[in-house]
């Protein structure tokens, strides 16, 4: 009741925030969570056999989705730190949204990794026996840290509002201070957190990329380009997410007011994509130039079996990149939304493509001398049994099961729910913007 009243106050502000869509999103988030959690329950009962992952293709949609959310989680701190590092004052109003998006996405990423564990009940072993040579341990550490940092970032930025409105989280202590003091505190710490957070933003991508890039067993991953490319993609997609959320948050009505900020974001996205494509080109060149059997197999997969997905990965972001550099692309609300969505699809395809060529190019390939057979992949036992069906495969046409897709909704549910709940509860454009 009380909250509603205050909400009414909010609606009278100059920035109209669409309440209905937010309620709708909240419900959507809740529904997605419900679906995902029930799927998880079923998976816990039956085992990971309900997914379409097998020994030969042991990471799938879950890890790809995890990597996707890690990627878009970057945006928050990149936007806010750019404000401070590059004095991009235009973006300042969007820093709260940026932080919130980062927080929600890193929560989502963290949530996604859990159902991928065969024995989630033993997750405490990570605390008891962390093995620091494992990139996964570092990833858990940096992601946890990032969740904390992004939470703090949201927190310090919302503090002045909360103090003023006499509500919020963990803000009892602010009562002792004057609004000005808190305002000052918020400003100072927003900046600090953003700058402290930046290395974490870079780290989560680096470390997540290192999970893959360290593995000499998988040629597709085993490249030093993977971490910088992860960062490039993260800058692009993370920024695009902030852009998208902001566009939705300010609505048609507020578009004009923030148009400059939006355009700046679009250009950041496009710029990051240039870097990304540069890496892609270099990577393909390096894989292809040597002409090894593994390289051939990889190309056969990329441009054969997975040409559609690979095309999606390449073409959609390429379109967005070009589009966002054009006036037409970066200055209308619709085209910005379109560009972001296409980019997300492309980046999601990119994350899936981390898995496909890698797992389907079986690492143990052999050259068979004197027979004209260049590469032969040693078959793998799938780990699943069905009468009349082979237990050994040399490739696995992985496609996520319905259940996997349902469970894969988990981070989407988390992100949508957290963001819309936050939007519903608090105000995310700073007061300063109304002045």
């Amino acid at each position: 009741m009380k909250i509603l009243a205050q909400n009414n106050v909010v609606t009278t502000r100059t920035i109209p925030v669409a309440r209905k869509p937010i309620n709708g999103m909240l419900v959507l988030g809740a529904v997605l969570l419900l679906i995902a959690l029930s799927a998880w329950g079923y998976q816990l009962k039956e085992g990971l056999i309900v997914t379409n992952m097998r020994n030969s293709f042991s990471w799938g949609l879950y890890i790809a989705t995890f990597a996707f959310f890690v990627g878009i989680a970057a945006g928050g701190l990149i936007v806010s730190s750019s404000v401070y590092l590059f004095n991009l004052e235009k973006l300042k109003p969007l820093t709260r949204i940026a932080s919130l998006s980062a927080f929600a996405c890193s929560l989502g990423a963290g949530a996604m990794i859990l159902p991928d564990m065969g024995r989630i009940d033993r997750i405490y072993q990570m605390l008891l026996h962390p093995n620091f040579s494992s990139p996964l341990v570092w990833d858990v550490i940096v992601i946890s840290a990032y969740i904390v940092v992004t939470f703090l970032s949201v927190y310090v930025q919302l503090l002045p509002d909360w103090q003023r409105e006499g509500r919020g989280l963990l803000n009892g202590w602010t009562k002792k201070y004057s609004p000005e003091e808190i305002q000052f505190f918020s400003k100072k710490w927003s900046k600090r957190v953003a700058i402290i957070g930046l290395p974490f933003a870079v780290l989560i991508h680096t470390v997540t990329a290192l999970i893959f890039a360290t593995q000499a067993s998988r040629g597709w991953w085993n490249t030093a380009i993977l971490p910088p490319d992860f960062i490039a993609v993260a800058v692009a997609s993370g920024t695009a997410l902030v852009l998208l959320i902001s566009l939705l948050y300010v609505g048609k009505e507020g578009f004009a007011e923030y148009q400059e900020a939006f355009r700046t974001l679009a250009v950041i996205v496009a710029g990051a994509l240039i870097v990304h494509f540069f890496f892609v080109a270099v990577d393909l060149l390096v894989h292809g130039w040597w002409g090894s059997a593994e390289g051939h197999e990889l190309f056969a997969l990329l441009f054969g079996e997975y040409k559609f997905l690979y095309g999606t990965e390449l073409l959609l972001p390429a379109f967005t990149m070009i589009f966002f550099f054009t006036k037409k692309g970066n200055s209308s609300r619709k085209s910005l939304i379109l560009g972001c969505i296409l980019l997300f699809i492309g980046v999601f395809a990119h994350r899936m493509m981390l898995m496909f060529p890698s797992f389907n190019a079986i690492p143990l390939t052999l050259n068979i001398n004197g027979t004209g057979i260049e590469a032969w992949a040693y078959p793998v036992a799938t780990g699943a049994y069905q009468e009349g069906v082979s237990s050994f495969v040399s490739s696995w046409p992985y496609f996520p099961t319905l259940l996997e897709m349902a469970l894969g909704l988990l981070p989407f549910g988390v992100v949508i729910f957290v963001i819309s709940l936050a939007f519903r509860l608090y105000f995310f454009l700073p007061n300063s913007s109304k002045k």
């Binding site: 049994y385 069905q386 009468e387 009349g388 069906v389 082979s390 237990s391 050994f392």
Partner: protein
């Protein structure tokens, strides 16, 4: 229950056990070797030590392996199996294969028979109903009595597969069949395992070198025997021999794993081996590379043959000669020439050296006629004239240069061992091919020497001891009927006695004829139409044959009973010993036959050790068999056997198994005895007492097969049956054996099927596959006018052109209810009907003499 003392691990890799003990630490489990030594109870360091027991038994499917295996047993359940590796000759350790080691899957698998079953509806269609032993045995006895009363007991056919795997329990079946006057179908010719060249040439059922002798050979020529699959536990000898410098050469239409391990692989056309062999012999004769002394002493080469009638000249016919009075009735005295005509004594190999081998002589007969006669050697030489390298190439595809080179190698590198595989003689002219190949060994004197000879390695055919006391009670007469007649009906020339109403009931054990035997579909139809009125099957699992039976009686495996085995190849006497009590309601077969016997006729019970538990009774039988088994097992006791395998005795120093060693080294007449036949039964096959290449019985003369000749396949079989087949069916349906099965046994073994993509396959040459539009993994129909088979394609460049190669042994349910033996045909070759001694000279099945076509499923013709 027998506890085994033998240690389990063949080698221990750690030197000191102290170090080991320290390392084990708090480990609860204690290794089973220690367990075996500690005998049942081990006080482990923690309470979780399992109570393990190991029991040594002999793996005894229809495979020549006869591998000693240890069952690791906990709580009356077999947990794992490992080779016993307890043969006194280290080179035989460890013996056993993937099938033997996964036998748990059959013992405890879903197809294990749980209770007796009775068919109350239509066989093959309706479900069999569970029954008590009482009901099932009563019913079986009643039906058999009815049929015997109506058609005579000889209308009841019995098949229990070959004997070496089970002297006791199979013996019980033989015993009952004999008492009841039933007809027995000898498994050896039913299987196609009988290499007819053996009785024709050497007067024996079949012989071979034991595999460790391969190491003594310097040249090993393998003609269509896939040793890596079908002699799996012995295959290492082949590789070791090769690495010791023995030249290994494989002749096969298809490139097999065995070919891959050989020094040389020669691709030849299907069933062209006789042409190759005779081509080789021609080179040997032309270049004088033969052993004149050997052929004069041990063979019929010096015997004279009358040109007027093609018969061998008998001493009794020749002026001045008489048949020695001590010539047994089953023998004949023939004639040789060294300036004078000489009587060739059939029991002595003592002719002078200067015999006429080439040329001709005029012979004055007692009748006053004079006839021209030539020595066999001369005739052979003339007949070999056709086999020029070029002519051989035309038939076989083998290059002339290769032929000449290999002929010289084979003639000069000694000892020479030829392996003539079952698959290769399971052709219509399999006998001719064997005679031609044996000729190479004989001409070069490669017989009866360490590492030398010709071997045919087939299933557990051979009987290694005298079993009469147990198998044939009180010397009664047995009725025998070759299985091919059951399918074909009687023929004009048959020597076996065909029952007046044919076979009306079938009792089978240790076999799965409704998949494995000719015209399996006809057999199925006969049961369903009622022509075959009653089928009872004794097995431990639900085979296709069980599905078509009226009564199914659950037997047990070699882990659940006591029996005595002796494999033909691997010359040890070994026990099957119960590791566990029978699973479900299975019963040792001896018990089943005793129960059946007493229901058929209360008088019969006394023949089966009434009152004794099956294992006790089995021990009594073993004692009887050891006592009456003759020289091969003289002195061997049951107690010794319980300690481990005991080598069978032989006349070769070291009890080695080298066929005809005694003949060659002791100049004894051919043949040695082939158990269980009496010598007079088999000695009639080689009446001269010598190795015979010239056969003058009428059927041979009619066929033009007095001497070994090459005859192309299909002419007298498929094309004679249906001339249209020449155009219509151009693929040769070859059914070989798989490493994953022993025939149909293990066809349902889950792990074996995992290893085969869960599917049955047909192997095709890439060119043929392409012509037929078939790709790797496609579903393919293999068919002819008689039947069809549904399988999946393996496209393999090693497969010969126009060969459709199938690994036989799949139960119908894995073939969408089709059957590979619906394509094959029970051809009977007239020369196989010249004599009849069960399982020794009888019409032999020719699985590979079969034509078919292939098409991708879904394709129209």
């Amino acid at each position: 229950m027998e506890k085994n003392k033998a240690k389990l691990s063949r080698r221990q890799f750690l030197k000191g056990t102290a170090a080991t003990g320290a390392m084990v630490g708090t480990m609860g489990a204690v290794g089973f070797a220690n367990k075996a030594i500690a005998d049942e109870v081990v006080s482990g360091e923690s309470g979780s030590a399992p109570e393990l027991k190991t029991v040594r038994t002999t793996c005894s499917p229809n495979c020549t392996g006869a591998c000693g295996l240890n069952a690791i047993v906990e709580n009356n359940e077999i947990k794992a199996i490992v080779q016993a590796a307890d043969y006194p000759e280290q080179e035989y350790n460890p013996r056993g294969c993937l099938k033997g080691l996964s036998m748990m899957n059959l013992v405890y698998g879903p197809d294990r028979l749980q209770t007796p079953l009775i068919q109350k509806g239509k066989p093959g269609v309706d479900e069999l109903q569970k029954a008590t032993w009482e009901e099932a045995l009563d019913y079986t006895a009643q039906r058999l009595k009815e049929i015997a009363a109506k058609y005579g007991p000889e209308s009841i056919g019995v098949a229990f597969q070959v004997g070496g795997t089970s002297y006791v329990h199979k013996g019980a079946m033989s015993r009952l069949a004999t008492l009841a006057g039933w007809n027995i179908h000898h498994a050896y010719d039913q299987n196609g395992d009988l290499p007819m060249f053996w009785p024709m040439t050497f007067g024996v059922q079949s012989e071979e070198l034991e595999p460790s002798e391969w190491l003594n050979a310097r040249y090993m020529a393998v003609f269509g025997s896939n040793i890596l699959a079908t002699r799996l536990p012995d295959a290492h000898f082949l590789v070791e021999a090769r690495n010791k410098g023995t030249k290994v050469i494989v002749f096969d239409p298809s490139y097999s794993p065995t070919a891959a391990k050989a020094d040389e692989y020669i691709a030849i056309n299907g069933s062209s081996d006789a042409a190759v062999a005779l081509g080789i012999c021609k080179v040997i004769l032309e270049e004088g590379l033969y052993d004149q002394n050997f052929i004069s002493t041990f063979t019929d080469m010096p015997l004279l043959v009358r040109l007027d009638n093609g018969k061998r000249l008998k001493a009794d016919e020749v002026e001045g000669l008489t048949k020695p009075t001590d010539t047994p009735t089953y023998r004949e005295a023939f004639v040789a020439y060294n300036g004078n005509f000489l009587t060739v004594h059939s029991e002595r190999l003592d002719l002078p050296e200067n015999l006429l081998l080439e040329g001709e002589v005029e012979v004055p007969l007692k009748s006053g006629e004079r006839v021209i006669a030539k020595p066999v050697f001369q005739l052979l030489k003339e007949s070999l004239n056709h086999y020029t390298p070029e002519a051989v190439e035309k038939e076989s595809g083998m290059k002339p240069d290769d032929l000449v080179r290999i002929a010289r190698e084979m003639a000069t590198i000694k000892p020479l061992h030829i392996v003539y595989g079952a698959s290769n003689y399971q052709w219509y002219h399999g006998d001719l091919k064997g005679r031609a190949l044996a000729l190479i060994n004989v001409l070069t004197g490669n017989i009866g020497q360490p590492g030398a000879g010709i071997s045919t390695y087939a299933g557990q055919y051979r009987i290694r001891l005298k079993v009469g006391e147990w198998w044939v009670p009180e010397g009664r007469k047995q009725n025998w009927l070759p299985f091919l007649y059951v399918l074909n009906g009687p023929t004009e020339n048959m020597k076996a006695k065909y029952p007046k109403d044919g076979i009306k009931a079938l009792i089978t054990g240790w076999g799965n004829p409704f998949d494995q035997h000719n015209m399996s579909n006809i057999l199925r139809e006969r049961v369903q139409s009622g022509e075959l009125e009653f089928v009872a099957n004794i097995d431990f699992q639900m085979t296709t044959s069980c599905e078509y039976s009226h009564v199914v009686l659950p037997g047990v495996t070699w882990y659940e009973k006591t029996d005595l085995t002796a494999s033909p190849v691997h010359p040890y006497l070994q026990l099957q010993q119960p590791a566990i009590t029978p699973v479900y309601e299975g019963r040792p077969e001896l018990w089943i036959f005793r129960e059946l016997a007493k229901r058929l006729n209360p008088e019969f019970e006394k023949y089966f050790f009434p009152g004794l538990e099956p294992d006790q009774a089995a021990e009594e039988v073993i004692k009887l068999l050891l006592k009456t088994g003759g020289p091969n097992c003289a002195g061997i006791t049951l107690e010794q056997l319980k300690q481990g395998p005991v080598r069978l005795k032989s006349e070769v120093p070291g009890d080695r198994q080298i066929p005809f060693y005694e003949q060659v080294h002791g100049k004894r007449p051919f043949p040695p005895q082939s158990l269980p036949a009496k010598l007079e039964q088999t000695a009639q096959f080689v009446k001269s007492g010598r190795i015979e290449f010239y056969k003058d019985e009428d059927a041979f003369i009619e066929a033009g097969e007095q001497l070994p000749v090459h005859k192309p396949p299909f002419e007298e079989s498929e094309y004679a049956l249906n001339p249209a087949a020449r155009e219509k069916y151009t693929f040769n349906f070859v059914t070989r054996n798989a490493i994953y099965r022993v025939h149909s046994t293990h066809s349902n073994n889950i792990w074996m099927n995992e290893l085969q993509e869960g599917k049955a396959h047909i192997w095709l040459n890439p060119t043929d596959a392409e012509e037929k539009g078939i790709k790797q993994g496609d579903e393919v129909e293999v068919y002819n006018d008689r039947g069809k088979l549904l399988v999946y394609a393996v496209v393999d460049a090693g497969v010969g052109r126009k060969v459709a190669m199938f690994e036989q042994g799949w139960w119908s349910r894995y073939l969408k209810e089709t059957s590979y033996n619906s394509l094959t045909y029970p051809f009977i070759k007239p020369t196989h009907e010249v004599y009849f001694v069960p399982g020794m000279w009888a019409p032999n099945t020719a699985w590979n003499e079969c034509l078919c076509d292939v098409k991708k499923v879904g394709d129209q013709l």
